[in-house]
Amino acid sequence: MASKTTGTLNLISILIGLFGDFEPKLVHAISGLIHGNPRQAGETGVQYLIRINSLTDAALADADANAKAVMGS
């Protein structure tokens, strides 16, 4: 999973606290959409490419796991 800003996660957790079981996954999804993944200081182009490809794999793996859970329900 991609790293997220703790402060924003906490804020979102508080604001959507009434979602119960849905909250942790929803926070993860929202945070990913908000922050994006800018190139970090000192990061080369190749390193950036590797990092965002890794984030892509993680997002797709998570998406697949959620979809399979629905199909199995």
Partner: protein, 154 residues
């Protein structure tokens, strides 16, 4: 308070369709990778909403059995389309130029839009309000995909 939270979640998801990954690179490979990441993140957000909706309707299986029987296949279909889109994105990421990932994402948003999961002859009139909350994140994520990657999207 619960409805305000739902509204906030919806606004965050929809508004962040423009929160693209901040790359200033003109390298086509980097730009493409960032675009695929945007698509994968949007798909992940949709899957989270889908899973949440599925969990939500499971809790209605005994109190609203007709609704469950009606809506469960809709969610399963969206899950199948999600898996197809995910595979297509992986193929595109691996260099398959024929992989129509935009089409796969459009298929999801189009399928999601064909049904309003909150409209049904519920046995309990109060169920609709609960269902709207259950489907809030899924509907928002589907709209975000349509806005960013649907017909006419990038």
């Amino acid at each position: 308070m619960k409805h305000c939270s739902v509204l906030l979640v919806v606004l965050l998801i929809v508004n962040c369709t423009s929160c693209r990954h901040a790359t200033t690179s003109t390298n086509p490979q980097v730009v493409f990778a960032a675009t695929i990441l945007d698509a994968a993140t949007a798909l992940d957000a949709f899957s989270v909403g889908l899973h949440a909706a599925s969990d939500g309707i499971e809790k209605l299986q005994t109190t609203e059995p007709g609704y469950y029987q009606s809506i469960h296949p809709y969610l399963v279909n969206l899950a199948r389309l999600e898996l197809t889109a995910s595979a297509t994105l992986r193929a595109a990421k691996s260099g398959d130029t024929a992989a129509d990932w935009k089409g796969a994402l459009a298929a999801i948003s189009n399928a999601a839009a064909q049904t309003d999961p909150t409209v049904f002859g519920f046995k309990n009139p109060q169920t609709q309000a609960e269902v709207k909350i259950v489907f809030a994140s899924l509907n928002a994520a589907g709209a975000a995909i349509a806005q960013s990657f649907g017909n006419g999207g990038k």
